[in-house]
Symmetry: C2
Subunit: 426 residues, 2 copies
């Protein structure tokens, strides 16, 4: 039987086209990722944590340094990375789709000030911490560039995690909820602008104030132009698409637009996820908004966990061993960075001089870093600027903030459900 | 601006992980595939043809020999192939999910005889045609192996296309409809067994009657064992999964099972799509069957067109030029094969001695070849056994049968809606 299987396999593999490598191996890895994501996500939810935390842990367990189910390199690793990339694009598209520009405008002033302070403080704290505290990690020559990355990774609050927690607590519609979501979206945008600037620095381009301003102009300009033109074209375009007879035309073309705008953002010198996010904001204004969301959600539900598992799998668990030389110190540095990350965002909650709202609740709501922080860490690692040690520190910080916020929020918002839910009708 | 973009791109590409190649290029190709699939699918439906035909044509137009949007080789081509592969696995999983073994048993005798004759006749006709008619294509040394491939490619009716046409005509529930679907599923299974045997032959293994019997035993044995064990385990397993708090656990784990069984089928020496199909049949028996179908459908709707577009893109349109030397002859050979494909399946409709049913309607319903025929052609081409000329001939045959059947079926079933639809309630 082994002989027969051996004879048949090459042809079937040729049909798979994985460059002569085992497509069966890739499929088994993919299946393991999906199952582990759900099992670990379930455990996380049962102990009151968001599922995304479980997905990160699933990645750590499946990663090359632990079980080794997800290889560190090779064709399977590459395909998983592409699927993860598609997953994060679909996620940012969905977040954009949920962003109502008009609703945002009402809490705009407070959200902007919370976001601005919540980007500035963590960035400065991270930068100063990394460039001044003697941690002995990374190349001294690129220390200040690495410090910029560390600072940048601290800036962006996770819209996905925060929105999910608030929605679980029926507090998405409260004034604090709206400020948190608004500020989280704005600091994502600011974070993405910083990512673009930082990427330019990392690539070794000449970083005059002029070139920084230009990168910033391109990034913001891309978003403004895309939203302005798209906001006019999309509703008209999708009215025609909705009349098409062929099935799934609306969601399929919507995703195609997200992928295309991601590519355009990349080619324009901005970040890909910015393009997907812009596509979401644009399509949020179409009449087909609900149909798009309904049908894109199952696709995102499949692909997005692959991103989080994939990121988790990058953590080398050997680096966390406190008994190895420098191991305890690394954990200490990660703890220090996490404390800074929490304190600075909570402080940002007190930023707005206008409006009456519970400032502590807003600050805590801004704490969880997530996808954008992970993207920073990932870009830094792949560009060779962040060593595996430093990458692990950032990953631990993201996990730490994601751990801390949900239970605190639950405490702060307890019994304060403001959304009209089924329980009010009883 | 060009300079800045140039400096930033490498880092952002590193984040994409496309091995240093442009991930933006891949995303644009993917977007083009999705949009073209829907636009060509729409045109096809408007002129009364199934959307899949439009998707194949979209592939031809985007392919390397025409617009060149889908490259013939390189990282983008490889990733598209993997996504296409996932698409065909999800499609076969969905077909399995729609297969009710109990319903099938009622028309079992007729379906089996129609399927058996409908596999035997086209196989023999294709084999004899290719090995005896002087067409001058392919290597004379491997002529008889290629003839086996050609015969095999003629065997399997497309469940997807047939089911869709019958459902459009509200005739899925008629006796003819059930026989057609039953026979189409059975001949898919027989076709897959033949694929496995033929792949073994293609790989140059020793092909004694004993080894053929063994491959056949493995293929059928895999299906029987998977369905037997899975049919007992799955309902119990999914009752637990349905109680999980984490979102999308049921459809995600269902797809993971489909991918894992596809891998196991491959490793056991059977065809991957057989594994995905078996997973569908197994999960059709769970109580969560509807939830799985609802949430897998949008994923399939996104991925499956990529398969058909990808297959269409393999057609070299230069080979179809009737003015080039031998070009007209190639078209003639394709026409001959298409006529054989139609005549032999219509004849199979008259196969069952039992039951009263409209034999012509059943025969015509069996005509459209589709995914399985295309998979045969694809495997043959990738293994180097079918030259591009021969591959194009098979592709034209598949397109031809897919063109011919729907309008004929519409004529034969006109005004005979048997399914209880909304119109009966008015």
């Amino acid at each position: 039987m082994t002989l027969t299987a051996g004879a048949v396999t090459p042809v079937l593999e040729a049909a798979g086209g994985a460059g002569g490598h085992s497509i069966a191996g890739f499929l088994l890895t993919l299946a393991a990722i999906l199952v582990a994501a759900k099992l670990f996500g379930e455990v996380a939810e049962r102990i009151g944590q968001p599922a995304v935390l479980g997905e990160l842990l699933a990645g750590v367990v499946l990663g090359a340094s632990a079980l080794g189910v997800i290889p560190a390199a090779g064709p399977t690793a590459e395909i998983i990375t592409i699927l993860a990339e598609l997953g994060v694009l679909v996620l940012l598209f969905e977040i954009g789709l949920e962003t109502d520009l008009r609703e945002m405008r009402k809490v705009g002033g407070s959200a902007i000030s919370v976001a601005a302070v919540g980007v500035l403080l963590p960035f400065l704290a991270g930068y100063l911490f990394w460039s001044n505290v003697p941690h002995g990690m990374g190349d001294p020559d690129t220390l200040s560039t690495a410090a910029v990355f560390i600072g940048a990774a601290l800036t962006a609050t996770s819209v996905g995690i925060t929105a999910r927690v608030l929605s679980d607590l029926s507090n998405l519609g409260s004034i604090e909820g709206r400020i948190i979501i608004g500020a989280a979206v704005i600091d994502d945008v600011l974070g993405l602008v910083i990512l673009t600037v930082v990427s330019g620095i990392a690539a070794g381009g000449s970083v005059s104030p002029y070139s920084v301003a230009r990168i910033l102009g391109v990034a913001v300009g891309f978003l403004v132009i895309a939203v302005a033109i798209g906001g006019w074209v999309a509703p008209r375009l999708f009215r025609s698409i909705a009349n098409m007879k062929v099935s799934y035309a609306v969601p399929t073309i919507a995703l195609a637009i997200a992928f295309a705008l991601a590519a355009v953002a990349d080619l324009a010198g901005s970040a890909m996820i910015m393009g997907a996010f812009a596509a979401g904001i644009i399509l949020a204004r179409t009449e087909q908004y609900n149909a798009i969301e309904d049908r894109v959600k199952p696709v995102g539900a499949l692909l997005t966990p692959i991103f989080f598992v994939s990121v988790g799998s990058s953590l080398d668990i050997n680096l966390l061993n406190p008994t190895r030389p420098g191991g305890g110190f690394l954990l200490l540095v990660a703890l220090g960075l996490t404390v800074l990350a929490v304190v600075t965002k909570v402080a940002a909650g007190y930023a707005s001089p206008w409006k009456k709202f519970r400032r502590l609740a807003v600050g805590v709501g801004m704490v969880p870093r997530g996808e954008v922080g992970l993207i920073f860490a990932d870009v830094g690692r792949r560009s060779g600027l962040l060593t595996d040690d430093v990458f692990s520190v950032v990953l631990l910080m993201v996990m730490g903030t994601t751990f801390v916020a949900p239970p605190l929020l639950k405490l702060l918002f307890r019994g304060q459900s403001t959304d009209v839910g089924a329980e009010h009708l009883l």
